[in-house]
Amino acid sequence: MTERKIRVLIAKPGLDGHDRGAKVVARALRDAGMEVIYTGLRQTPEMIAEAALQEDVDAVGLSILSGAHMALVPRVLELLRANGQGHVHVFVGGIIPEQDIPALLAMGVRAVYGPGTSTQKVVEDLRAAVLQENQA
């Protein structure tokens, strides 16, 4: 009877008020058979890490359009690690300048998706990452 579902938290940290992108991704992951926990706008890193813990998610997707990614993302990663969830696959979407991407990846973000990324790509990356994590 063992059936494993991929659980993903989709969160919008920071103060910008547009969550259309986050909703499109949430819907695509749902349509790919995943269980998507959607938390809504204006989440603090603390709220995101707490939800990730309680929901025991495999992945956290952060949608950031405000430009505050270099402040918000490291804080989320730090809190996840502090909670014993360093294994969680963190990906970032939104408006992220090209030059910031290497730094984000170096911090532990697994993928950064800019505007125009196909949702299929996000789904495939996530499936592969969770498969790898489970075999590890």
């Binding site: 059936e3 992951l29 749902r30 790919a32 058979g33 269980e35 809504g40 709220m47 813990l53 309680q54």
Partner: protein, 340 residues
């Protein structure tokens, strides 16, 4: 000794979250941990919140959780776990679990634990593993467990078999009085709430619900002599977004808990819940065992005969039951085992 269970009992939220996942996935490790935890369960007040989609269940749950955390009467705060169930897509098996959006006020409070669950194909408004998940939270020591069902219509009444107290939430404009009379969901209410009471049509809805309650009869829990009078489900009006009516709803919830404890209701519900859980587990396990005992390919063959209309559904059933080596008593009247 079960490490996961020990960690849960020691208060680890990470271990608790892991355990809930194992339970949801039907993992044997989860079952083993529950075996160890079960003696610690049976203390919490299980409160179900059900009602139509959009009636305001999540907002109400949010307010109730806050009220339990900061009681208006100055009593000590109670710890609260929330299990919020949303539907899985019947086509993809995926789910969008959005109840946390309305519960952001509760963030940062170590006395609150929120878990979203997908229904995973179950039809009664909960997931098949919701009872075990709630049991785990109960064992972990939460005082109150709020169980929010899938947005429910007329037959999603599983919550009545699970909770001590069932709150049915309605909102204005959800249907006429015939809908109210036929709806099974109103029958299961221990407390009926008309939320969004500031919307147009609230007066009408209130009148309809009140009339419906008057038509109904009070509910008793195996009333014996010397027991208090039967419970009359009260009707409470609320505006959850403005925190209006929450104090009254809280006092009705406390009154229902007191009623259950004075009558034999608390125990009666606990006992019937455990019986239901056993029977559900038994059904699933017997079905699985029976399927594995069938000769390879036989099921597909009989199904094909049925789909080609060579045999009737009942003939197909008896062919299948005759194939297996189950005892005779199980083959004849296959449901008798479970209902006796």
């Amino acid at each position: 000794m079960n490490t996961l269970a020990e960690e849960v009992l020691a208060g680890s939220r990470l271990a608790l979250a892991r355990l809930l996942t194992l339970i949801e996935n039907g993992d044997p490790q989860g079952e083993a941990a529950l075996d160890r935890l079960f003696p610690h369960s049976g203390r919490a007040h299980w409160i179900g919140i059900t009602g139509s989609p959009g009636a305001g269940k999540s907002s109400l749950v949010n307010r109730l959780a806050r009220a339990f955390r900061q009681p208006a009467d100055g009593s000590p705060p109670r710890t609260v776990a929330i299990v919020a169930v949303d539907p899985s897509s019947p086509f993809t098996g995926g789910a969008l679990l959005g109840d946390r959006v309305r519960m952001r006020d509760l963030s940062g409070d170590p006395g609150v634990f929120i878990r979203s669950m997908a229904s995973r194909g179950a039809l009664g408004g909960l997931a098949h593993t919701t009872p075990a998940v709630v049991q785990a939270l109960d064992s972990a020591g939460f005082d109150v467990i709020l169980i929010e069902t899938v947005g429910a219509g007329q037959s999603e009444v599983e919550i009545a078999r699970l909770a001590h107290t069932v709150i049915v939430v309605e909102a204005p404009g959800m249907g006429d009085d015939i809908q109210a009379i036929k709806a099974g969901i109103l029958e299961i209410a221990d407390i009926l709430v008309l939320n969004k009471a500031d919307l147009p049509g609230a007066e009408n809805a209130l009148r309809t619900l009140r009339a419906m309650l008057e038509l109904g009869s009070p509910r008793g829990e195996a009333a014996a002599e010397n027991e208090p009078p039967l419970w009359h489900p009260p009707l409470v009006t609320t505006i959850a977004t403005q925190n209006e009516g929450i104090a009254e709803l809280m006092s009705r919830i406390q009154a229902h808990a007191a009623y259950l404890r004075q009558s034999s209701g608390w125990q009666a519900r606990d006992r019937s819940r455990l019986q239901n859980q056993l029977e559900d587990l038994l059904q699933a396990a017997l079905l699985k065992r029976w399927r594995t005992s069938l000769p390879e390919g036989r099921y597909q063959q009989i199904l094909a005969d049925l789909q080609a209309r060579r045999i009737s559904p009942y003939q197909a059933l008896h062919h299948l039951l005759d194939e297996t080596d189950l005892p005779q008593s199980f083959q004849r009247g296959s449901s008798a085992l479970l209902t006796s």
